[in-house]
């Protein structure tokens, strides 16, 4: 019978802790950048001219239908190859995406932006017509209405979906193992292959993911209950 030896995990607990921290960091940054892009795209789709709307729709459909692993591989392995060796273009790519961590954050942000655009679009539509009319009657311009009326109101309807997206993104950070960013899955793989402790390593990583996701979900539920989010 297989004998479980957890000391290999406790001896390497720093790997797991650092991995968790890096995973959360990448998920948070991905969500923040993705939110900015997503907001811009959502408003562009709502109010922009037709070609812009087409572009946004194409972006959303494209990004939502290819796996994250593919985006990550393209950015990490493909992008530096696009430019000739030691050209200024390549220097720029290496400056913007110097390591696996940064590349993954950018990939995650691009990926998340597509999902967030959909969420924000639904949020914009859900804002009642009368608020916009009130804005117009106050003499606000369209940009002012968007920023000071639509944005704050839609934020409340959108928050639960944002939370779910964050949990999804945190789980997606596991894919960063493919480009060897040292997050949780990478830590588990390193411990499992270095010491041949497969069961212990993967069970530990799984438990950490589970507890973290559950904690995030619970705190989100608490937030939702605590604050009255809906606007009549």
């Amino acid at each position: 019978m297989y004998k479980l030896r957890w000391e290999y995990i406790t001896n390497n607990k720093d790997l797991f802790i650092d991995g968790l921290v890096l995973g959360l960091k990448m998920a948070i940054l991905g969500l923040l950048i993705g939110t900015v892009i997503g907001l811009l795209l959502a408003f562009a789709r709502q109010y922009g001219p037709r070609p812009v709307r087409w572009f946004v729709t194409a972006y959303v459909e494209l990004l939502r239908n290819i796996p994250l692993l593919l985006i990550v591989s393209l950015l990490y392995f493909g992008l530096p190859q696009v430019f000739p060796r030691r050209s200024t273009g390549q220097q720029w790519v290496l400056k913007i995406l110097p390591d696996a961590e940064r590349t993954f954050i950018v990939a995650l942000a691009i990926y998340a932006a597509a999902y967030l655009t959909e969420i924000f679009s639904a949020g914009i539509v859900s804002v009642g017509q009368r608020y916009l009319e009130a804005g117009t009657s106050l003499g606000l311009t369209r940009t002012q209405t968007a920023v000071s009326i639509t944005l704050p109101i839609m934020f409340r309807t959108v928050l639960p979906s944002l939370g779910n997206t964050f949990i999804g993104l945190f789980k997606d950070t596991s894919i960063a193992v493919a480009i060897a960013a040292p997050e949780l899955t990478w830590a588990a793989r390193k411990v499992s292959t270095d010491y041949f402790r497969y069961i212990e390593a993967w069970a530990t990583a799984g438990a950490i993911y589970l507890v973290t996701c559950y904690a995030i979900a619970l705190s989100l539920r608490f937030l939702e209950r605590r604050i009255k989010w809906t606007v009549a």
Binding site: Y2, N65, L69, I175, A178, R189, S192, I199, L210
Partner: protein, 181 residues
Amino acid sequence: MNEVWDNRHLLWLGLKLTLQLSALAIVASSLIGLFIGVGLVYGNRLIRTLLRLYVDIVRGLPILVVLFLIYYILPAVDISIGSFHVPTNVGRFQAAAIGLSAFGAAQVGEVVRGAISSVPKGQTDAAKSLGLTFWPRLFHVSLPQSMQVIIPPWTNTAAELVKGTSLASLLSMSELLFATR
């Protein structure tokens, strides 16, 4: 681009594998998910608790970790039912298929549960007053009406599973790494 064209048979093989894996995972997770959903609504306390535990655990894990867990842990456990020894020595393809199905089943289960609960209670009451027993009630009243609610999120799960097959490459990658070590 020439390299891509020259190696088109590899892409073709990959596409075939992706489609096989997706089809398998989608069918399996739909069937299992249906049972899980029904069990979550109508099961007794023990069944409900077990299924809830399963669904919450699997939905709280990244697909990749589910795949790795199955790929590495399943071969190490010894399952025997009576004298029948369950073959747990899974390869990459089997591990990916089982992992994706397990993941999809949890998702579909949650969807089905939500959909069945969304059918108005009056419908079940009406069916009861017509003298329908549990199974006809489920198959002729609750499930057909929840299908409408099930289909959109079900398509999302299916798309997610197709995209999830890309993660199967990491299973082989880790093995390749392992071999080079």
